[in-house]
């Protein structure tokens, strides 16, 4: 894989996949705190999303708005083909490595 990708980038990339049609910063932050039970700030997510978009792993589209957003529209993010393959490849590599790992017990 020619593109390097950081671990937070990887997590958020996966979340974009998982959240399907409803992936934007707020839902990602909710999902993040649900999965890892720690919080993340919105600007941090924005930064990562922008980076992923620059790398061509995700793409975005302006969507609807709600009253809570003060009439501001959302920007939804979708996975691209390259992005999906990158995520898949990363996970397969991990899984392969993990299968090679000896079963240890630390009792």
């Amino acid at each position: 894989m020619s593109r390097s990708i950081g671990s937070l980038e990887e997590v958020i990339l996966l979340m974009v996949i998982v959240l399907e049609d409803n992936a934007y910063a707020v839902t990602i932050s909710e999902e993040y705190s649900r999965q890892f039970s720690k919080s993340i700030t919105i600007p941090a997510i924005h930064t990562v999303l922008r980076r992923l978009e620059e790398k061509g792993l995700i793409k975005s589209r302006v969507g609807g708005s709600t009253n809570l957003r003060g009439g501001r529209s959302k920007r939804f993010y979708y996975i691209t083909k390259v992005g999906y393959e990158t995520a898949k490849e990363l996970n397969e590599q991990r899984a392969m490595l993990w299968n090679m790992a000896p079963k240890l017990s630390f009792n």
Binding site: P43, R50, R69, K74
Partner: protein, 879 residues
């Protein structure tokens, strides 16, 4: 999630800030997301924390990638320009090390002075404000006047029964008393540790002490620490002194070797800005035992003796006027009929005591606003001089940099960018100066503490408010002194600058400005120098003025509370066996410091008068070398002379001109004849006029043994006095002092002011000279060619020097002419405080003028000589 808008919103200002910087392509996403998450959070973790997080996220989003694409952040390369300005500033500072050094060191010295002086002033102004209820606490003071309505005594303390009776009459107020056994410094002993010290700062007080004052206890309960008789609270410092690392709680300390006091609390050391700093607190509940231990016979019932500093806490909402009304009603109700009409009880606000009160019996010497004003004026003067230096040097330098500026302008730089560049440079210089200043201030803390006679309050020095204001002040100076040169520079016409190379400061409009700045600078220096000389002269005058008695070689030995008081004749005989001891006299007060007013009845007058009354034995006149004017001295052979008076001239005159003979003065229910009149002498300090004085014999009042020794073998004499002391009082520490030293201490205030003005006037003239050095360096540089041509044509070195220094010399002379009247006015105002003072001498002014003139000419010549001695072939070589 419901789709409706909740009533509360994110902080408006943060939202507006976000809208201001955020690019329009991103605002939808960022603002929308932040708002949405804000409402989600405010339901989960509460509104308050959600708001904080919102603000935090707005700040986190404040980064270049989110900025508006069309504003100056991006287009004008603002951050890059800032970096560029910073780099060019550093380069320019490094390139011209001489100028940079002068600028930085000058400003650093001034800033260090400002840091130290303002922390001192801040501390002085903050006295007693640490008490939670400081604005509800007042102190009672007591004024006695005589029948003519003239105030005869102003005391900071009131009688024993005053406080409790007052609280009894007006239950809504709370009072507490502080009593020090001031006639006698108490001896405290910790027997197990075999430690024994005289302790001046032991206060006996009421149990409400910690309710009224906000001193903190490190151990023990403030509510109950002073609730039982014989309890003792001591400070951490004292706990260490007596008990070392042992725990002090519950231990016993002996008061005067007889009264055991049990430690019930350990207080944190009182803050520096408290008008009294206790080491020990005990309770007034067992005051009888205390009196017994100190041999005090007055008791705590009388309304005449007034040793108690009494404070009152009033409820919120009550005014000082109401309280004053209470005390006015209170006086006739409780003071005796004979006293009441002559007593007043004024109130002093707790926080005003330190800077406004100077009464008899203050717990600690206070300061007055005058010394604060003097300190502030000095700080202002110094910083003005430094800022002027800074401005003049920057302006001079900037005109040298005309070419650089011109090129920048030609390349399209606008006025704003030039401003930015020069401001960056001056702010950078200021910041460096501040760092140097902090280091300098650190080095000079100790000397400064000595000059002001006040410890630096580190709590204030390191408080965020103080540090922030110093930083703000520095940046303000940076802006101020950067704007002026920036202004000059931006006014250059590039064509001129490129053609001539240097733009001369002289000859254009701004020359008037910088000339007047130099004049102003030197005027300030002259004022400070004159001030320093006059304060110093007055101080020396006070020290050396003939007091009318011999104060040198007199050893004073406190004997109050000792057995020597009763055996003073035997003690003296023993002393006089050493031939180096000339004479000795037991007496009641420190001669030349003050003699308190005491009630005497002069024959022929209806009522008693309060007159300074001294009690001394028969050798008094001999010991102090006083001159008898009329009548005779006390005669040792006549036992009856123990009941006679000697009075001074003023007393004789005030009484009945020359007809003193055969008359008597009443003291302790007896009329005693007057046998002699002595010449007037300064029995009180020189701030007071000479008043009537009466002297008689009354051994119960003796407090000191005054011992005159020969100037030779002082050390042996002291040893022999100590030997005799140990024969009579083996268990007690020997604590003699020299009379003249003690008297010199009276004028410590004057000495401190004199030192302060002195040191800082030196600093000011140094700073002014430093500035001049920089300026002449610049102006001679401009005239290198002119000087070369003059030399070729045959001008001598002195004549060129004269030419170069003439301009500046004229400025310094003008400065003197302006400064003299101002200095004369200040000096006269200050001297008006003294009864005995020096005359203002014209030559002081002339001296200050000549000193500044010589200093400036020397500076100029030192600088100019380098250029003048340059071989013309070198200076004229290149064009």
């Amino acid at each position: 999630m419901e789709n409706q808008h909740p009533s509360f919103k994110p902080p408006k200002w943060a939202d507006r800030f976000l809208r201001w910087y955020c690019d329009s392509a991103l605002i939808n996403e960022i603002q929308g997301d932040l708002h949405e998450v804000f409402y989600i959070r405010s339901e989960k973790i509460g509104r308050f924390r959600a708001q904080w997080l919102f603000i935090w996220e707005v700040v986190r989003s404040f980064k270049p990638s989110n900025f508006k694409q069309n504003n100056r952040f991006k287009n004008l390369n603002y951050f890059n320009m800032f970096r560029n300005n910073y780099i060019t500033s550093v380069r320019s500072l490094m390139k011209h090390k001489f100028y940079s050094f002068i600028k930085i060191i000058g400003l650093a010295i001034a800033l260090a002075s400002v840091i130290l002086i303002s922390s001192f002033v801040y501390n002085e102004l903050s006295f007693d404000q640490f008490h939670e209820k400081s604005d509800q606490i007042y102190r009672f003071s007591e004024l006695f006047s005589n029948e003519q309505g003239v105030v005869e005594e102003k005391s900071a303390s009131v009688p024993f029964p005053f406080g409790p009776t007052f609280q009894n009459d007006y239950p809504e107020v709370k009072t507490i008393r502080l009593y020090q056994t001031f006639q006698k410094v108490p001896l405290l002993t910790y027997q197990d540790g075999q430690k024994s010290f005289y302790e001046e700062k032991l206060f006996f007080t009421d149990s409400l002490f910690f309710d009224i004052f906000s001193f903190e206890l490190a151990q023990g309960n403030p509510e109950t620490a002073l609730d039982n008789p014989r309890s003792l609270v001591l400070t951490e410092r004292m706990a260490k002194k007596y008990f070392g690392d042992e725990s002090a709680m519950g231990k016993t300390i002996l008061f005067e070797n007889s009264l055991p006091l049990v430690v019930t609390g350990i207080a944190k050391n009182p803050p520096i800005n408290s008008h009294f700093k206790f080491d020990f607190l005990s309770t007034l509940m067992n005051i009888d035992e205390v009196f017994q231990a100190t041999g005090n016979r007055f008791g705590d019932k009388g309304w005449y003796w007034n040793p108690c500093h009494t404070y009152v806490l009033i409820p919120k909402g009550m005014t000082q006027e109401q309280l004053q009304q209470y005390t006015d009603e209170f006086i006739p109700r409780h003071f005796s009929e004979r006293m009441a009409p002559f007593v007043e009880i004024p109130l002093q606000k707790l926080t005003d005591i330190h800077l406004t009160s100077s009464l008899y019996q203050e717990i600690e010497p206070n300061r007055d606003y005058k010394s604060i004003y003097i300190a502030l004026a000095i700080a202002a003067f110094i910083i003005i001089i430094a800022v002027i230096n800074f401005m003049n040097l920057s302006a001079a330098r900037s005109s040298q940099r005309a070419k650089e500026v011109a090129v920048r302008k030609v390349m399209g730089s606008n006025v704003r960018q030039l401003f930015d560049q020069f401001l960056t440079e001056s702010l950078l210089t200021c910041i460096i100066s501040l760092i140097v200043a902090v280091a300098l201030a650190g080095v000079f803390v100790k000397p400064f503490e000595q000059i002001t006679n006040a410890p630096i309050n580190y709590e204030i020095l390191f408080s965020p408010v103080f540090m922030a204001s110093i930083l703000g002040f520095t940046l303000f100076i940076g802006l101020l002194s950067g704007v002026y040169p920036a202004f000059i520079v931006s006014a250059f016409k590039p064509v001129d600058a490129l053609k001539i190379g240097n733009i001369k400061l002289t000859g254009n409009r701004s020359s008037l400005l910088w000339k007047s700045l130099i004049v102003f600078q030197f005027a300030i220096s002259v004022i400070l120098i004159v001030g320093a000389i006059i304060v110093n002269q007055q101080h020396l005058f006070l020290l050396n003025k003939d007091m009318g008695f011999d104060k040198e070689q007199v050893v004073m030995l406190p004997i109050r509370g000792t057995g020597i008081k009763a055996q003073s004749d035997e003690f003296k005989q023993e002393l006089l066996r050493n031939s180096d001891i000339v004479s000795a006299s037991a007496m009641s007060d420190i001669l030349g410091n003050d003699v308190p007013l005491r009630p005497f009845l002069f024959e022929g007058q209806q009522k008693g008068q309060n007159v300074p009354g001294l009690f001394a034995d028969f050798d008094f006149i001999k010991t102090f070398g006083l001159k008898l004017k009329q009548g005779r001295d006390f005669d040792e052979a006549l036992e009856t002379d123990k009941e006679t008076f000697i009075i001074n001239e003023s007393a004789a005159q005030a009484w009945d001109s020359a007809a003193w003979e055969g008359k008597a003065i009443g003291w302790s229910r007896k009329m005693r004849p007057v046998i002699g009149v002595i010449e007037d002498f300064h029995f009180a300090d020189l701030k007071q006029d000479i008043r009537p004085l009466v002297i008689t014999y009354s051994p119960g009042w003796h407090a000191y043994m005054a011992i005159r020794i020969r100037p030779e073998n002082i050390f042996q004499s002291m040893q022999s006095i100590e030997g005799v002391w140990n024969q009579f009082e083996p268990g007690r520490p020997f604590t003699p002092f020299f009379l003249d030293e003690r008297l010199n201490n009276i004028y410590e205030g004057e000495q401190k002011i004199s030192q302060m003005v002195g040191y800082f006037s030196v600093i000011s003239i140094l700073l002014a000279a430093l500035g001049l050095l920089g300026l002449t360096n610049y102006s001679t540089l401009l005239r290198v060619k002119e000087i070369g041509v003059r030399k070729v044509l045959g001008a001598s070195v002195p004549s060129i020097l004269r030419l170069l220094s003439k301009d500046y010399a004229i400025l310094v002379i003008i400065a003197n002419l302006i400064a003299w009247p101002a200095a004369w006015y200040f000096a006269r105002e200050w001297l008006a405080n003294f009864t005995f003072k020096i005359d203002l001498n014209f030559w002081v002014f002339v001296f200050a003028g000549l000193a500044t003139l010589a200093m400036s000419i020397l500076t100029i010549c030192f600088q100019a000589l380098k250029t003048v001695r340059l071989n013309p072939s070198q200076s004229l070589r290149s064009e």
